[in-house]
Symmetry: C2
Subunit: 379 residues, 2 copies
């Protein structure tokens, strides 16, 4: 084939090239971000965890170029203040995730299932706070202090574990890493916040009513929670364990990458607003002294050892509320078993139990350079 | 020696005999009792347990010939209604226990220690709700449904066990009797009432204050209990267990007459008014099925099995309050051990945990005919 300099073709070629360059500039302008800044959407922005996510993105100076707040049509139009700007909440729809790098979803399993494939095919990475994908073998289930390496294998969805599981994991994984755990027996004392902001409100209003001598009917919870407690309000399986208890078993096994770890849990809802507590009996494969366990936990990430034996002062929900760390104390020898220790922990259910862990996963994505849009950029 | 009918002596003899008969009649009149009725004193009549003792003596139609109410000088002079009569509270003093058959004491260990020898030397039997004499080898420690036979050996003092221990004992002894328990791991959810009526009031007032946005200082408890929880407020031993936890260990061993039973307990105070809950993990020496355990507990004295798996309805403090029985439910296989079961219980701390058990001990004394004054009568 003959090759001729066709001036029209050359002009078109140069023009196309300029257009491509221009598009790049415009796109970059629109994103208004340095390379490491991300466009984030919060799905479920009006809930208890959604509010905490906003607070954390701000206080942790998350590298954010754009923040989109999504919720149900019911909440659309509400305006939320963020870093001095007013952001209007949008109803989630198929186009919501275009030009978004990370979606932090905290709107329940149904919503996550409904939008996950749209999110992933839009090129965003979903960090999902629901239980929808946690046990999916293609989805990493991550507590950044425990199994950050699992993030390398994500395919667009990363699951944020169950709150009670995260809190226990932080306290026991550092011990497990040194001396494998044989068996865990745990009893929980779980706050209203695990059932959302409306459940917290119900606890407060119900307390006022009961103190005034009235008998209000519960709406969010199946039974009154004020001055009462009951088995965790999730459905029971055929052998009598509720979903929350099975999450503690199955999710801990997945996060620890230890599929035979033996766990028996009893999950109980107590009239506390926003921090969960747990009594944990840990049987190790080999002896571990109280001193060694305390020393390990003193330097464990995300853990703060709180135990003043003389004052009988140990972790309490009012002290754990609003804190990043899980508070661990009463580390003591189990009097009934030479290889077992007992410990007690409290952690903020909304914060490290949900929002903080999700934001930490997003930060881990950035530091490992494995946000999907970042991966795309490297090609 | 000659025998003469001396009319004066005969007259005196007959007179003396009549006098003796008369004294007997007067004495009986004063006691106003059939032979099985008893003169009872309540020491600590104004407390939470004291009030419940009064209610129980009345509702159980306890065979009572006389009721004396004793308290500190601070409460003396107060008038309490009982069976339609007004009874004035008296300050306890050395003569208080004369002509008393049974003393039900619920005024704390110090008061019990102070008055025990006076009570016993006055000829009364002390049923003591404090921990003062529980571990004394000469003092039977009794839950009538578990070890009624121990009452036969009393020497004037019978101890009423710790509330948390009584409630757990009722639920597990019927199983232990069939298939010995190897090891217990228990976490408790204990109400304010365990610390008395003023502690219950503190929880209520504190809740009102907190709901109004204020931060009240606790007075009875070391830390705020409203919307909070903390390690049981009893002193800690050198290995980190609080007194309440050691009571569960030592008292259960004594009541079960099993000095090597292995128990590890975590006792926690929760913002509940008057019923304790416990999560109990029971490892048996031999396998026991959930069905067998349920069947045993279905016919166990003092126990009511409450479990509606479909409704996720299990024992709750609001249902246990004011009930005689300990409510037991969620009887299920421990997923971490083939020989272990899990169960959950709630019981009224003031009632079966204290006052009811004490009254049952008094009833047992009568039925076994071993009130000290009754024993004396048989000679």
């Amino acid at each position: 084939m003959d090759f001729h300099y066709n001036p029209i073709k050359v002009a078109l070629y140069i023009g196309n090239f300029q257009l491509i360059l221009l598009m790049e500039v415009i796109q970059k302008e629109n994103r208004n971000l340095p390379d490491s800044s991300l466009r984030v959407a919060i799905l479920g922005a009006t809930g208890a965890v959604g509010s905490e996510l906003l607070e954390l993105l701000e206080s942790r100076q998350f590298p954010l170029s754009h923040l989109k707040l999504l919720a149900s049509p019911r909440s659309a139009g509400q305006v939320i203040q963020f870093q001095g700007q007013s952001i209007e909440i949008e109803a989630v729809e198929p186009d919501s995730f275009k030009n978004i790098d990370i979606v932090l979803s905290s709107a329940g399993g149904g919503i996550s299932r409904q939008w996950a494939s749209t999110i992933v095919s839009s090129g965003a990475t979903l960090i999902d706070n629901s239980s929808a994908f946690r046990m999916d073998s293609n989805v990493p289930l991550i507590v950044p202090e425990i199994n950050p390496q699992a993030i390398l294998n994500h395919s667009g969805i990363i699951a944020n574990p169950n709150c009670t599981t995260i809190l226990m994991g932080l306290a026991i994984y550092p011990l497990h890493r040194i001396n494998p755990i044989e068996r865990l027996i745990v009893a929980t004392y779980q706050s209203a916040s695990g059932a959302g902001a409306r459940a917290m409100e119900e606890l407060k209003l119900q307390s006022i009513e009961i103190l005034a001598g009235r008998s209000p009917s519960p709406e969010i919870f199946p039974y009154p929670l004020a001055f009462n407690l009951f088995t965790h309000n999730s459905s029971l399986n055929e052998v009598g364990y509720c979903e929350e208890e099975m999450k503690m078993l199955n999710e801990t096994r997945k996060i620890f990458d230890d599929p035979t770890l033996r766990i028996s849990a009893t999950c109980v809802r107590v009239p506390i607003l926003r921090a969960h507590s747990e009594s944990v009996n840990i049987e190790f494969k080999a002896p571990m002294s109280v001193e060694q366990a305390t020393e390990i936990l003193n330097s464990a990430p995300g853990v703060k050892v709180v135990q003043d034996w003389k004052r009988n002062y140990f972790p309490m929900p009012i002290d754990a509320s609003g804190k990043d760390e899980v508070l661990v104390g009463r580390i003591r020898q189990d009097l009934s078993h030479p290889l077992a220790l007992e410990l007690w922990l409290c952690g903020d259910q909304i914060r490290k139990g949900a929002a903080l862990n999700a934001v930490q996963i997003a930060e881990l994505l950035i530091s490992k350079n494995c946000v999907k849009s970042q991966i795309a950029k490297t090609f």
